[in-house]
């Protein structure tokens, strides 16, 4: 069974690091670097999991998340959010917007892997 993760991240180096980590875990990793058309890309790719950066060109990660939760077929999609700003305000906003897991950069690779595994496990149990 192929597991697919969509990584929305404009920093190429960070994207590459996450791709490296997840593909070794057996994930199929797709990367998208722009916020403005992120929703369409998510709809098209139909991933099992989305990793979303907050500071994105075009459209803010928070707004993408909010819109995504409005859409019926994507409302329950697990979303792991990453941010470099790391203020407590951001965490609250993300939780209000319906984030599945929120992480602050810089993160340890193990943390990311654990989070992805947990989220996927929760999603498949349901």
């Amino acid at each position: 069974m192929s597991r697919k993760v969509l990584l929305i991240e404009d920093e190429p180096n960070i994207a590459e690091a996450i791709r490296f980590l997840l593909s070794r875990e057996g994930w199929q990793v797709e990367i998208h670097g722009d916020g403005s058309d992120a929703l369409e890309v998510i709809q098209g790719a139909q991933p099992d999991l989305v990793i979303l950066d907050v500071m994105l060109p075009g459209k803010n990660g928070m707004d993408i998340l909010r819109d995504l939760r409005e859409m019926e077929e994507l409302a329950s999609l697990p979303v792991l959010m990453l941010t470099a700003r790391g203020q407590s305000r951001d965490r609250e906003m993300a939780e209000n917007a319906g984030v599945s897991r929120f992480m602050t950069k810089p993160f340890s690779n193990a943390e990311v892997l654990t989070a992805v595994r947990d989220l996927h496990a929760q999603a498949t149990q349901m």
């Binding site: 190429p12 690091a17 722009d34 470099a84 602050t104 810089p106 340890s108």
Partner: protein, 892 residues
Amino acid sequence: MTTVNVLILVCLGYVVFLFAVAFAADRMAAAGRGKWLRSPLIYTLSLSIYCTAWTFYGAVGNAARSGLEFVTIYLGPTLVMVSWWWGLRKLVRVGRSQRVTSIADLLSSRYGKSNTLAVCVTILAVLGGTPYIALQLQSITLSFSIFAEADPSGLYREGSSVFWVAAGLAVFAILFGTRNLDVNERHHGVVTAIAVEAIVKLFALIAVGVFVVWGIAGGIGPMMERIDASEIGQWHVDAGRWTTFIFLSAAAFICLPRMFQVMVVENDDESHLRTAAWAFPLYLLLMSLFVVPIAVVGLDLLPEGANPDLFVLTVPLSQGNDWLAMLSFIGGFSSATSMVIVTAMALSTMVSNHVVMPIWLNTQEGTGSVSGDVRNIVLMARRVSIAVVMALGFFYYRLSGGGAALASIGLIAFAGISQILPALVGGLFWRGATRTGALVGLTVGFVLWIYTLLLPGMSGASMPESVLQNGLFGISWLRPQALFGIEGIDPMVHSVMWSLLLNTIAFCVASLLSFPSPLERLQGAQFVNVFDHSVAPRGWSGSVAQSEDLMIMTQRILGTGPAQEFFQAEAEKQGGRSHLPEPTPAFLGRLERELSGSVGTATAHAMIGQIVGGSSVSVEDLLAVADESAQLLEYSSQLEVKSSELSRTARQLREANAKLTQVSAQKDNFLSQVSHELRTPMTSIRAFSEIMRDTEGLSRDEQTRYATIIHDEALRLTRLLDDLLDLSVLENGQVNLNLGDDSLRSVLDRAVSSALAGAGRKISVRRARAAERIVLHTDLDRLGQVFINLISNAQKYCDADEPVLTISAYDVGGRVIIDFIDNGSGIPPGARSMVFEKFARVGGDKAGGAGLGLAICREIMQRLGGEISYLPGQGGAAFRVSLPLAHRQAAQ
């Protein structure tokens, strides 16, 4: 026999003589000679315009009808003159100190300079004066007709003669009455002419009297017997008419506009009153001395039905004494002309000042009229008014047909003008009299006078017979000659009693019920206490009433609360006998200081002086009146200024607060952005270093690649930290400028080569090197940093296929301008205002900059005394750097 032609010649000659007298008097007064022009004698004689043709001819007629009753008309003024100390003295003092121009002006001035009141009085005066003027015209015409009857040539025509008489009198009044603008400048010419006329008419009447007593009757004794034997020899006093007429003539003597003109306006010296107090009654006595004898002899000698109003003329004529008749005619003519001239002058002053000028000023509002203009307008208005008043008299005469007995018209006019009396006397003696009271009283009296006397008196169509018989709307107690059902009173007595009684009651009640304006109170104090104000200082003649005035004034300036506090404190200092302090000099001094804080020293002094007295206050009064509103305005505008200052301060505080909030938000935002910019490269570094540490069997390529990423991100971090440090130093102004001299060309050379060195993507740079031969004195390294930043930005962001950067330099008015323009798509308009802000990055820039470059450039240019700005409309991204050629700013 005297022909009409001779008579006309005599009249013309007499008028020319008067002209000459008036002209000479004016010339003498202008030359400063002729002290006698201002003598008490002239003043007394000028008062004789009280004796009009009505008294000259009509007194005899009156005596022939009702015996001694005619004398009431002289007894009233006699009493007024004798009691000058009580009344006239005050009237004259007030009139002079307030510079009033007419009785209407006096009332208006007393009641808060109300023009409404002035207009009312003017209307009343014109209404009362018009029949009076008509009466004079009638008497002249009648006397003409006496001679015309005897004139065989029959040239005389009544209509045209009246017209010419009226026109001639108007011309005389205009010529001598309107030469000066200021009515307070005495009309010496007119007054002297009137004095001459007074002598002429007295002489004429006495001459006729002497002729009658000694020439016809044969001495005093026989004359007395003849009187007792005549049909009026047994005299029954009509008590009502006797008292009423004495009172009425006294009232009219004070209220008549022409009397006010000669008595107050033309008064040169108050002390003249002292002489006139006995001299004028003497004049009146002489005028009436021979009235009864002439009447009795006339009744004896002349046929039944002869007009007794003309006995003065017809008795000498019947005796064939033509020269005496001529003298008598001149006397009557004198009486008529002097009265008409002064009345026309007085009425025209009122009409022009209170009716024409306000209307004219209203129409001129906003055009910024010139004062010279106004002078001419006023004079023109007076002249036209005189003509109009004369025309009114003329038409009244033509319309009324001149039928009624002379005496009755005169009394009706007296009753009308006397309606002013309550307001006048109240204004002079009662501080509580108000404008409302005066207006209500005048209106009530005026209406009653018209209803009970004027309309019923004018026979015929003026009032329907049914109203006269059954009352207005059939209500019997509204019958004009039997108000409230009280019948059997003489109509004249009835009207005077009711109109003046109700007038007075209305005046008092309305005054008590209304509240005067501050100006009215001020003027009221001025009028009632005129002697306290204008008499030589007697120390502070303090009274609580004055303290009250001071209190009112102070309240208006300081406000109620502070004023009451101040007065309370002062009263306590004085021992607290009453809630108001005594106006002691010390208190007044403190009050003045207190007030001058609000209105200025001079004004405060004037205002207190006005209430407490000490000097003739006319000027200060005018000032205060003019200033009062201005002061209040000023005070409130001061408050306004203060409150606007407060609101300005509040706004500044709000702005400062908003700025602080903004700065705080900016700082938060800045920290948040710094955090983001630091964490992003650290994330990559951490992720890849963990990968390299934890992952088994990485290929050599992978290892190299990941190590390179770590290295690049570490460099990025270093750059960011450098930039932040740089910016912080620049912003805090702690930067040291290393000033040096070099040409712009070499600075640009170094910047271009440094910016393009090792860059992956090439951009071609176009320069006009010739224009770059400008020597700069500035911090060359910092300027180079700006240039490098701009060039590498162009290199990074220019999205053209073949990117080109054009650098051009100009020298404009002592400043160097260097433009950096690329051929890309430029910066979108919405982002242009942001590009110089920290961490502002346009588009998805991950090319290594932290977004601090342009912010640093801006800071640098400010330090160098120049500026950097975005140039819109250049095709691509365009930046302009400008700095002064000779930079003199010292390094900090």
